[in-house]
C-alpha cells in the first residue's frame, strides 16, 4: 500500500485556487490525502473521524500523516458504530465544528441509515433554518476488490432521493481533490464517494482548487453520442470513446460528479447536440442516477435520435465474489462502446 509522499505533508493551504498554481501528479489516494491535509490545515474546525482512521494511514491508506500532523482529537478513531458516530458528527456540526466522517465501505452506510435519512438531511429544515449542518461523509464504494456482496456496493444513488443532502462522486485524482475540498467547504451534509478500484490511478491535481458545486465535467466533447458516467465507469467511458473514435464515432464523455444537485443543464447541452445517450453505471438501473437522468431528460423533451441506452449491473443480482463473475457483471469499456455503437446505428 502507498506510503506518504511529499504531497501528503500539509502545505500552505489556500482557500481558493491561486490562478498560477501548478498541477502536481498524484495518485487518487494521495489526492484525497492532500485534500484532507489541506482542509484540516485551512480550518481548525475540520476534523476526521471514523473507524481506524488514524493508525497506519487508515484502512485504505488515504489518511497517511494526518494523525501525526493533527493529533488524535482531530483524527479521531471511533468505536464501530456508524449510526452513532455519524450522529456525533451531526452534533459537532451544530456547535461549530466541521467533521469529515469516514464510513469505511459504502455498504456500511445503511448501518447509519437513520442518521443519513432522517437526521442530516432534515435537521436544518425541521429547525426552520436555525442551523447549518456542515458534515462531510467520505465513503468507499464499488466492486473490483473481490470483497463479496456485502462490501462492494457503490451506494451513491440511495441518497439522490433525499432533499437536504448533497451527493458527489470522485473519478480521478484531480476531481477527488477539488471535490473533497468543495464538500468540506459546503455548509450542508455532503456524501462524498470514493471508488476502491481507483486508489492507484495517477493524474494531475491542482492543489488548492475547490470544485464548483453541482457542476458536471465534460471530459471529452463529441457530436455523435453522449456517455455519462461516474466513479470507475468514467475511465471505462473514456476508453470506450477511444474505441469509438477509431470507428469514426465522436463520443462526448461526461463525468456527472454530483448526483445532488444534478447537473441537468450540462448533460442537456450535450444531448441536444448528440441526441443520443448512454449511461454507464456501476449499479442496478432501477432507482439509480442513470434512470433519473434518462427520465428527466425525456420528460424535459429531449428529441432522441435513437433510444437512450444503459450499461448497468444486472437487474437482479447482488455482486458475486468469484473473480470471473465480478468482472463479468461490471460494465466494461467494450460494453459501453457497444451500447454507443448501437445507439448510433439505431
Amino acid at each position: 500500500m502507498s506510503t506518504p509522499t511529499e504531497a501528503t505533508t500539509p502545505t500552505e493551504a489556500t482557500d481558493r485556487p491561486a490562478p498560477g498554481d501548478v498541477a502536481v501528479e498524484l495518485t487518487y489516494r494521495e489526492a484525497i490525502n492532500a485534500a484532507l491535509h489541506d482542509a484540516m490545515a485551512a480550518d481548525d474546525a475540520v476534523l476526521l473521524m471514523g473507524e481506524d482512521v488514524g493508525a497506519d494511514g487508515g484502512v485504505f491508506k488515504t489518511n497517511a500523516g494526518l494523525l501525526e500532523a493533527f493529533g488524535p482529537e482531530r483524527v479521531r478513531t471511533t468505536p464501530i458504530c456508524e449510526n452513532g458516530f455519524l450522529g456525533v458528527a451531526l452534533g459537532m456540526s451544530l456547535v461549530g465544528l466541521r467533521p469529515i466522517v469516514e464510513i469505511m465501505f459504502a455498504d456500511f452506510l445503511p448501518t447509519a441509515g437513520d442518521a443519513l435519512v432522517n437526521q442530516l438531511p432534515k435537521y436544518r429544515y425541521m429547525s426552520g433554518g436555525q442551523t447549518a449542518v456542515p458534515v462531510t461523509i467520505r465513503s468507499i464504494g464499488g466492486a473490483t476488490g473481490r470483497f463479496g456482496t456485502q462490501h462492494s456496493a457503490t451506494g451513491e444513488s440511495w441518497f439522490m432521493h433525499l432533499p437536504g443532502l448533497r451527493v458527489v462522486t470522485a473519478s480521478s485524482p484531480g476531481s477527488a481533490y477539488s471535490l473533497l475540498r468543495a464538500a468540506v467547504d459546503d455548509d450542508n451534509p455532503t456524501l462524498y464517494f470514493e471508488h476502491k478500484g481507483l486508489y492507484g490511478r495517477k493524474g494531475p491535481v491542482q492543489r488548492g482548487e475547490i470544485a464548483e458545486l453541482g457542476k458536471a465535467a465534460v471530459l471529452r466533447d463529441g457530436s455523435d453520442v453522449t456517455i455519462v458516467a461516474t466513479l470507475l465507469m468514467v475511465e471505462r467511458a473514456l476508453a470506450a470513446a477511444e474505441q469509438l473514435a477509431s470507428d469514426g464515432i465522436d463520443a462526448a464523455v461526461i463525468d456527472l460528479r454530483w448526483l445532488r444537485p444534478l447537473d441537468l443543464p450540462t448533460v442537456r447541452a450535450s444531448v441536444d447536440k448528440t441526441r443520443r445517450l448512454v449511461v454507464a453505471e456501476e449499479q442496478v438501473h432501477a432507482a439509480g442516477w442513470g434512470a433519473t437522468l434518462v427520465s428527466q431528460l425525456t420528460i424535459d423533451g429531449v428529441d432522441w435520435a435513437s433510444a437512450p441506452r444503459r450499461v448497468s449491473l444486472p437487474d437482479d443480482l447482488p455482486i458475486p465474489y468469484t473473480p470471473p463473475l465480478e468482472d463479468e457483471v461490471l460494465p466494461s469499456a467494450d460494453r459501453i462502446a457497444e451500447a454507443a455503437r448501437a445507439s448510433v446505428r439505431g
Binding site: P79, G84, G87, V88, G91, L94, N118, R124, S127
Partner: protein
C-alpha cells in the same frame, strides 16, 4: 437558558414553569379537539419536574437534545408558549416557522439544539456537541433527554460507549415513565432500574425521584458539574409517569387500574407547591392564583399564535439548504 446553576435556584420560578408546562399541554389537547392543531402530539403532564429540574442545572452555553415529547424541555428552556403554539399550529411565527410541528420544538438561541422524532437519535447528537465543547476547550456540557423505551435501541448503547471512551461532558437523562407506546417497560426490558445500564461503560448511573424537582435538580447539578470538571458522563434515571396516553389517539386503556391515581397522588407540581407553602415562600392561596394567571397567559398565547399566518412554500425553501 435558565440562570447559572451557581446562583441559588429560584424555586418559585420552577413552580411557575411547571404550571406553565402543565397548562400548555392541557391547552394543546383542547386545541386538538377544536381542530386548531392537527396531526399528533405527545404530551408530558406528570413529567414536569424532570424537564424543569434538570434544565435548571444548565448554565449559559450548555445545550440539550430532547424528543417528540419535548414541550416541557422547550418551555423550561424559555421558548414562549406563543412560539410553541404557533409551531404546533403550523404558523410562520412558530419556532421552526411552522414546518417542524409538535415533535420538533427547537430553539438554538436557548440551547435547545434538537427535538427528535426518531427514538434514540438525540443521544449521539448530544455526545457530539459535548465532544465539540471539549475540543473547543469550552466549559460547557450537553444533556440528552429520552424515554425508557429508548434505552433498548442500539443508538443508546453507541452513544453511551462513545461518551465514556472520550470522557465527554454529557449527561444522559432517562425520563422513565414506565411505558413505550402501549407497552409496559417489563415487556420490552429485562430490568427495572435503567440506571444500571451505565455499568458496562464504567461511568455512574443514578436513580432519581422524578416527581421531586429538588431531587432532580440536585442529581443533575452533580452530574453536570462533574462533566464540566472533566469527570465524564453520567446516566440519570428519573422515575416518573405520563398522565396521558402515548399520543393523541391513545386512550391508554392498557394501564392497570389505580396506577394513574397512585402517581397523581405524587404530582410534581403539588409536591413542590406544598414545600413552598411549608417554607413560607408562597401562601396557601398562591397555587390557585398562579394557575389562574398562567391559564390567562396560556390562553392569550394560543390566541396570538393563531393570528400568525401559515408559511408559504417559498418562505420554507431556505430552510432546506444553507448557503
Amino acid at each position: 437558558m435558565t440562570e447559572p446553576a451557581s446562583s441559588p435556584p429560584d424555586r418559585l420560578e420552577w413552580y411557575q414553569t411547571m404550571v406553565r408546562i402543565r397548562l400548555f399541554e392541557e391547552k394543546v389537547q383542547e386545541l386538538f379537539m377544536t381542530g386548531q392543531i392537527q396531526g399528533t402530539t405527545h404530551l408530558c403532564q406528570g413529567q414536569e419536574a424532570v424537564s424543569v429540574g434538570a434544565i435548571a442545572a444548565m448554565r449559559p452555553g450548555d445545550v440539550q437534545t430532547n424528543t417528540y415529547r419535548g414541550h416541557g424541555e422547550a418551555l423550561a428552556l424559555g421558548m414562549t408558549p406563543e412560539t410553541a403554539f404557533a409551531e404546533l399550529m403550523g404558523r410562520s411565527a412558530g419556532g421552526s416557522g411552522g414546518v417542524g410541528g409538535s415533535m420538533h420544538l427547537i430553539d438554538f438561541s436557548k440551547g435547545n439544539i434538537g427535538a427528535n422524532a426518531i427514538i434514540g437519535a438525540g443521544l449521539p447528537i448530544a455526545v457530539g456537541a459535548a465532544v465539540a465543547f471539549q475540543m473547543q476547550r469550552k466549559p460547557n456540557v450537553a444533556l440528552s433527554f429520552f424515554g425508557d423505551g429508548a434505552t433498548n435501541i442500539g443508538t443508546f448503547h453507541e452513544a453511551m460507549n462513545m461518551a465514556a471512551v472520550w470522557t465527554a461532558p454529557v449527561v444522559f437523562i432517562i425520563t422513565n415513565n414506565l411505558y413505550g407506546e402501549y407497552s409496559p417497560l417489563r415487556t420490552t426490558t429485562p430490568i427495572d432500574d435503567l440506571a444500571r445500564r451505565a455499568d458496562p461503560f464504567g461511568f455512574p448511573g443514578a436513580i432519581v425521584d422524578g416527581q421531586d424537582i429538588d431531587a432532580v435538580y440536585a442529581a443533575t447539578v452533580d452530574a453536570v458539574e462533574r462533566a464540566r470538571g472533566g469527570g465524564g458522563p453520567t446516566l440519570l434515571e428519573m422515575k416518573t409517569y405520563r398522565y396521558r396516553g402515548h399520543s393523541r389517539s391513545d386512550p391508554a386503556k392498557y394501564r392497570p387500574e389505580g396506577e394513574l391515581e397512585r402517581w397523581k397522588a405524587r404530582d410534581p407540581i403539588d409536591i413542590l407547591g406544598q414545600r413552598l407553602i411549608a417554607e413560607g415562600v408562597i401562601g396557601p392561596g398562591d397555587p390557585t392564583e398562579i394557575r389562574n394567571e398562567t391559564q390567562a397567559e396560556i390562553d392569550a398565547a394560543a390566541e396570538r399564535a393563531a393570528e400568525s399566518p401559515y408559511p408559504t412554500l417559498e418562505e420554507t425553501i431556505p430552510y432546506v439548504y444553507a448557503d
